[in-house]
Amino acid sequence: MTGESFVFHIDGVAVTAKPGQTIMEAADAAGIYIPRLCDVEGLRHQGGCRVCTVKADGRSVSACTQPAAPDLKVENDTPARNRVRRDLVEMLFHEGNHLCPICEKSGNCELQAMAYRLEMTVATRFPYLEPCRELDASHPDIALDTNRCISCGRCIRASQDVDGKGVFGYVGRGIHRRVAVNGADLAHTDAAVTDHAMSAAVCPVGCIIRKDEGFRVPIGSRHFDHGLIGHEIEEKRE
């Protein structure tokens, strides 16, 4: 899209946006972090996890899909917004089996990092759903443990749009909706460990596991051991 850039406000800070930019894209460029899980740079926006929910002129919208607009007043980093986000992150923890101490992704996991950022420190009130889905270790280089999946769909979009393959897709409905593979199991698809969909940056949790590289980086030296999730964006701020 073309056109004049314009100004809107996030928590009182003036942010410049170009027509067609989403609230989140403009915020990222301005060094303001809006928490998100299903959205990642380089992939289509999904608006599914809802962690990026902000109030825009009083209306709740997902910042990753909502276009910025001139003079919009966005409420982002406030106790009320973050409480709701914490609820959503807790829902994702309780929907799957997320046992950080035994998970290879610990320290690199965006769900875990988001829980730290949102100060998920007291015991949660939600019940645990404890799914029991079969592990798919059929592929020589990749294993899938969908018990740790948060249904963000990043692997689906990466495989479709970047790799041009369509290895993953959603099946089922409601609480039974889950990520599945294009075949009887992963070995019967054209998945390759070199796919963008299989890279560490795409799966935010410990669901897509690349074999033979576990614990190469020790706990304590991992990505989120160096700073809160979103700090790279916040450091861009002048």
Binding site: R125, G164, G166, F168, G169, R177, N182
Partner: protein
């Protein structure tokens, strides 16, 4: 979408033929899958491979659609599938005895298929027959007012190899298309109003519209004050103006006949008695916005109306009022309440899982296949045809200041005269209850589960957009009914019908349902009431579409209007443990493994 064939696609002539019938068009995926389901009684992995190969999609894309809709099955179903309507109204009318009769005769429990592949028995949410409960679908045939004896009789005929139609209604085969519809299902029109159910002159609205410029039609609809009758109440004229004002090569008019809100059945009656008027309204809309394509999205539960509707369309084509530029096709649904949401409905028409679309863009600018699309309710289109005939002033004069014209109400539950009532907007709940013979109601669910549950102190409230907005469902409950049983049922409905796209609706509704179960078991404390409110707030605030934004309503409105029901069931939490934690059920598993009782939590552990 990816241009690759499914893995290992075998030659399958029957499936190739079905796909070819729909032009191997991936956007007709739902039609293809419905036909495969009918031919094979399930969608096997091999069938999905064959479909994927024919339409140029991955198998997982086909599986995504096949696994989304309740009427499509990934495991073999019986030659006859009996779907028992599991709505709360059916339950209160003796569903259990009916289920037991079918189960006993057929030798299978709900959820099972008989070993010889003859029968499947299952539950399904509201099939739109709340005024004649208990009801069931037997393949596409509808059976109403079931009793234990009648269920037994039907099951015996089915076992003797009699076709579903004959089994439900002896002589069915001899009936004409329209006669079959009326023989299966009662209309129960209790009050005919001036606009829709009273005398109607055929095609007069269309004739008036043909003499008008498209812009003038939109002006007239806007001037009438007509608002969408599906529940949300968006101004119809404005919606059309957006669609007409968007530059595009194609525009589409869609009629939302996915009447899935439990307790509503007025569109069923409109499609039976006033199908012509509905199609007339669609044709007027098409002229107003410049559309050549129309789609009626008919819920799968109303499959029994399909032949009748095709006959009406054919007759309109023969009369020259359809098919001269603008034509209509019927898209059959396959069991998904969320498809009543306009974005999900469009997704479904496009052959995708019924998932709502990201807004903006709105359907009026980018809808079906990316073209400007007007989606209106069955009742709305019929109103359009009438107000073009009688004039916007006539329509505007009825109703209240912000709600003009009449509204159809579907009344069911504990009342003497369940059925459809056409009344001007602004009636008091109390007056409608009196008409329906429900003066002794203790609770009324206005607008179905996504609406509001009110008690006697609210019966003077008005049915209009200013006060109690509703798509028309009025479900009456007597003082004999358990409020929490109703709330629990409605939450199970939303859990079943959430599409699962967004976290709060997918997961949060499960938690709400579990919390209500805890109240019903008498294990809740005061803190659980706060928990219900906070969880509901998060779901409403963050959900992506109207389903999640309204799904906590049964909980919130019952908490507000029946607080004592909840208060009576709470007790202080014992042992100082966390409120939501039930120690007794938690240690039950351990008791079993250890084969003894707990030293700490059982008073007499030696037993």
């Amino acid at each position: 979408m990816i241009e690759t064939a499914g893995v290992g696609a075998a030659q399958d002539l029957e499936i190739a033929e079905i796909c070819a019938r729909f032009g191997n068009d991936r956007h007709r995926m739902l039609d293809i899958l419905l036909d495969v389901q009918e031919a094979r009684r399930w969608i096997s992995p091999a069938s999905m491979d064959a479909i994927a190969a024919a339409v140029g999609l991955t198998r997982i894309a086909v599986e995504g659609v096949a696994s989304f809709y309740s009427f499509l099955s990934l495991a073999p179903k019986g030659r006859v599938t009996i779907r028992l309507c599991d709505d709360i109204v059916d339950r209160f009318a003796g569903l259990d005895a009916v289920v037991a009769a079918f189960a006993e005769e057929l030798g299978i429990a709900p959820g099972e298929t008989s070993a010889d592949g003859a029968f499947s028995l299952e539950y399904t949410p509201c099939i739109g027959m709340c005024d004649q409960v208990p009801a069931a679908m037997i393949n596409e045939v509808v059976a109403v007012r079931l009793t234990k004896a009648r269920a037994r009789e039907i099951a015996q005929r089915l076992k003797a190899g009699i076709a579903p139609g004959e089994a439900v209604l002896p002589g069915f085969a001899e009936l004409g298309v329209q006669e079959r519809v009326r023989a299966q299902v009662e209309n129960n029109i209790r009050q005919a109003g001036e606009v829709l159910l009273g005398p109607v002159m055929q095609d007069r609205g269309l004739q008036a519209a043909m003499a008008m410029e498209p812009g003038a039609i939109i002006d007239a609809v806007e001037a009438s004050g007509l608002r969408g009758c599906g529940g949300a109440g968006f101004t119809t004229g404005r919606k059309w103006r957006f669609a007409a004002g968007t530059q595009a090569d194609r525009r589409i008019v869609i009629c939302n006949a996915d009447e899935g809100e439990p307790g509503t059945f007025k569109d069923r009656v409109m499609l039976t008695e006033r199908a012509d008027l509905v199609f007339e309204g669609m044709t007027i809309a098409a002229r107003a916005v410049g559309a050549l394509e129309g789609i009626v999205y008919l819920r799968g539960e109303y499959r029994y109306l399909l032949d009748h509707l095709h006959a009406v369309l054919e007759e309109r084509r023969a009369r020259g009022v359809l098919g001269q530029g603008f034509d209509i096709r019927i898209q059959l649904g396959a069991g998904a309440y969320v498809c009543g949401e306009e974005g999900a409905l469009i997704s479904s028409c496009e052959g995708l899982p019924g998932e709502p679309k990201t807004r903006p863009p709105f359907p009026v600018t980018r809808g079906y296949l990316g073209f400007p699309t007007v989606v209106n309710n069955v009742e709305t289109f019929a109103h359009v045809a009438r107000l073009l005939d009688q004039g916007p002033g006539w329509f505007h004069a009825m109703g209240t200041e912000r709600s003009h014209g009449t509204k159809l109400f579907s009344v069911s539950g504990d009342c003497e005269r369940p059925g459809v009532y056409e009344l001007p907007y602004g009636q008091k709940v109390r007056d409608l209850l009196a008409l329906a013979g429900a003066e002794h109601a203790a609770a009324v669910q206005v607008g179905g589960p996504s609406g509001t549950m009110i008690g006697r102190d609210s019966f003077d409230r008005c049915l209009s957009f200013d006060d109690l907005a509703t798509g028309g469902a009025i479900i009456v409950f007597s003082s004999q009914r358990n409020i929490l049983e109703i709330v629990d049922y409605y939450m199970s409905f939303f859990v079943h019908e959430s599409c699962g796209y967004c976290t709060p609706c997918r997961v949060g509704n499960v938690f709400l349902k579990k919390a209500i179960e805890k109240f019903r078991k008498g294990q809740a404390s005061d803190e659980d009431i706060t928990y219900l409110k906070e969880l509901s707030g998060t779901i409403i605030e963050t959900s992506r579409c109207g389903l999640g934004m309204t799904s906590p309503n049964p909980v919130l409105s019952s908490l507000e209007n029946f607080p004592l029901v909840y208060a009576a069931l709470t007790r202080p939490s014992k042992d100082g443990v966390k409120a939501t934690f039930d120690i007794q059920s938690a240690i039950d598993g351990a008791r079993g493994i250890a084969k003894r009782r707990s030293y700490i939590f059982d008073k007499d552990f030696s037993k």
